[in-house]
Symmetry: C2
Amino acid sequence: MPKEICLAVDAMGGDFGPEVNVPGSLAAARETGARIILVGDEASIAAELAKHDHGDVHLEIVHATQVAGMAEKPSDVLRRKKDSSIQVAFRLVRDGQAHGVVTAGNSGAALACGMFILGRVTGVDRPALASILPTLKKPVVLIDVGANADCNPYNLVQFGLMAEVLARYVLDITNPKVGILSIGEEEGKGNALTKEAYALLKNSSLNFIGNVEGRDVYTGDTDVIVCDGFVGNVALKLSEGLGTALATMLKTELNKSVWSRLGTLISWAAFKRFGKKIDYAEYGGAPILGLNGIAIVCHGASSARAITTALNQAAVFVQKRANEQLVQGLRANTELDLFSRSGQSCALKQRTRTAM
Amino acid sequence: MPKEICLAVDAMGGDFGPEVNVPGSLAAARETGARIILVGDEASIAAELAKHDHGDVHLEIVHATQVAGMAEKPSDVLRRKKDSSIQVAFRLVRDGQAHGVVTAGNSGAALACGMFILGRVTGVDRPALASILPTLKKPVVLIDVGANADCNPYNLVQFGLMAEVLARYVLDITNPKVGILSIGEEEGKGNALTKEAYALLKNSSLNFIGNVEGRDVYTGDTDVIVCDGFVGNVALKLSEGLGTALATMLKTELNKSVWSRLGTLISWAAFKRFGKKIDYAEYGGAPILGLNGIAIVCHGASSARAITTALNQAAVFVQKRANEQLVQGLRANTELDLFSRSGQSCALKQRTRTAM
């Protein structure tokens, strides 16, 4: 564990820029004791900082002249915006000046910066976005939630290998249960991709529990659920949308009469606890797994609280040496090579197929 | 519109068999005035019927000696269970003795019976399961929710053409807005399948509004959302699971103190209205579109109320001549052929590609 944790924040990122990133970073600096480097337009950051008490915490500003747009093409950000806050923040990690980076900016650009500035862990074909979701029991890691829209079965196994390390060393779960998101519990149910991945996972060293249906994602009975980035992104955003829709519907009903408004007031504390339990701002961001460095991507609409939580999460990743664990875990596991693009040898295919 | 609507029910289907199918059918017969044929083991059905008043409604029993298991392979049900309640019920529709069939049984078997007993509408490559979901505004048709785990882009366009007719003629929506479920709003976002389907849909006669993200499914701003059956099934079951998980979490919080329990009691009517609004039992089943006949598949865990709602929905389909509308709508639309497997001509591909 490093003596002092240092985290870089893309202060211009997200829908609200410094307005949420600065106070979010301030709170995280207080809560974790970490030194935080705010990357972006110095004047805007200083103006926002001036609104808050900040004498007691370690904050620095690193100036960056450009901002990556939320809808800008990742390749354009990489090529044409060398001095964008997101690129500069990632470079601080690459150059050892920060232990990790948090951004609420363009997530495609974050992935591209991760790939091309930090680089991939040896043996990892495709870094993936992991989301740690609240459930009825303990949290579940859903991976990939959007980095790779089209995947092959080997990618899914690698996602499982990476997320298993996260669940084991960061979430402290003993022997994490790994499932594959599918459309039926039995083996043989699914699409072409998941059926092939099932066969590979079944023969891997992972504690593979088989198919997990959509309705079982939130029960908390599985620790890691793998899927391609298209399905995972739909699942993540659908959850967000449905949560909002249900809350709106309930509010509408509760507002309809004086009695129910009174009842709501009386139960207020319970609603507040419930709201906190399901608020994504309380669950941090989505770490990109498979990079040479810690990078956490937040929702574009993140509040200051969401930024704080993601920074706190990044600090835990640093403390628990998440990335070293990942590298070591993957290195110890000879399967990573077997399941890498270059490792799709006939021998392996033979082995996994005959083993069924 | 036929003088008397007649519907067949797979009385042995679902997790609870006659226990829910019989009272569910009784209520539907009362609510719609339809004649309902209960298909299955005569003794079990009669025993359940004896528990209820039923002198005032048109109910018949058609005996079937076999029951299709919920986990049985559809092909096995088709081949080895010719006298299963689900097969007999579908045959009643094929033979003109019923206008439609409702089953809470094995949905794979229902699809197989639909395909091989009723047959496909000319030009339709793949019948699909449509789900009519409640949203913040009007209902949305999500298609396919599980019939076709692997799809090509042409399938998705056909799903859109079929669901558009449903939205127009059954849900009475003028010029239904059709979107494609994807992982970004902009054209060019998505996976290989949705990007190709986007190009085809953009050049179709449908009122295509582009990509719809997971978070926008429940806003009610789109009338029809197309996706492959894998993604749709995950989305549907995830919604169910998340709804249950959120309800459980809220109940737990509300039960934690005397005050919040009191508040809940006072607001009870509002909670009840909310519960009814989001209860899938109130939203009927999933019609299979593209068959020569009306077939509605219900959740295996359906309550009697869910069966009643599905039968009421089937009666509306009959009244509104949903299937004739579908056949006519598709026939009038020369695109169905263009977008059929056999119609994947180079000319069309050329046209849709150059048009971009």
